[in-house]
Symmetry: C2
Subunit: 190 residues, 2 copies
Amino acid sequence: MTQIRPQSRDAIIEAAFQVFGADPRASLADIAERAGVGRATLHRHFKGRDDLMAALAHTAMAELEAAVAEATRDATSYSEALRLSMQAIVPLADRQWFLAAEAVEDAEHRREVSDGYTRQKRELADAVDAAKAEGLFGHDVPTAWIAEAFDNLLYAAWQLVRSGEATPTQAAALAWRTLTTGLGVTKSDK
Amino acid sequence: MTQIRPQSRDAIIEAAFQVFGADPRASLADIAERAGVGRATLHRHFKGRDDLMAALAHTAMAELEAAVAEATRDATSYSEALRLSMQAIVPLADRQWFLAAEAVEDAEHRREVSDGYTRQKRELADAVDAAKAEGLFGHDVPTAWIAEAFDNLLYAAWQLVRSGEATPTQAAALAWRTLTTGLGVTKSDK
DNA sequence: GCGTCATGAGACATAAATGTATCATTTGAG
DNA sequence: CTCAAATGATACATTTATGTCTCATGACGC
């Protein structure tokens, strides 16, 4: 008797990303309105705020994994895989804040989201170590820092895109340059 | 009849930074409890949630300005001023999320906070331009990106500190290196 | 020690968010 | 077209957050 039409569910999730992104305190009524859906329908699809939050986290995670898998399909090295991943993730960075934020309160869902997040972190660290072995990063730089810088430069790139100052491709290129060689004057510079 | 004891006010602000930092949806009762203060007292000091938010933004802004002013007191160049500023801001980065977040809803307070935030952004951009003129950054790199990277690497540094993987000094040094020369292999590396 | 004033605790009223139930209407599959 | 299922609108009960008030208590200046 419930949730067969995927349209409503998708619209709600999309609206929730937008509205919660602007204001984490927004009410479920706000979400329903933005989704162009009745408040009751929202409750038919999601038990409550927590359930919705968990769905958002799940969606963000799936999008992230799909984008990375697609982007790294034909990478020939870990270094290139990292670069391609950054390029691919920039456009969806605005939905990833959700994974870092401990937005899910329910213990059961929390665990699931947390596990996925931890896994993502570990995979990034592994990729960084591999790239380090390929000579992309200095051995004197802690892996934890590289991963942290990767994430945050990714977010910086998205912010640049959002402000209209660059395209996703341009912003990703800037972030990659910053991560690997920095913003100092290069040989090609006058 | 109101707000003469600064102790309560300070305790509330401190608690609010902590609690809201962990959960923006926290209630004022949560804040009061963490502050070890009665809920009524909180309302005696702050008209409501918005007033408290504005106070937090004001505090964060003041701390930022004071730290930067102190750190750059005897800088001999804009480049050095930027480096010293980064070093100085890392320990208080956890209170700066507040300025970026559009947490203040009241129109009147909003304007004030927004103005201060805009001014900070402009000052950073000016400093970046000056450092660029000094040859610290390449002329081919957009100022907007440098500023964005500065902010986000700052935040990355704080996260590294929070995770216990580095001291503020170490983290700031990593962030500075990343920004200026990147994380690639250096000559000193084997 | 005295008096003042902020505070803490609690009661209270109000507002807002949430969750559920009902029912007429619409949608989409067959 | 027809029917079943999902939806929107509405009403309702419940919970939670908020804001105000009162009063006894404790802290601090004098």
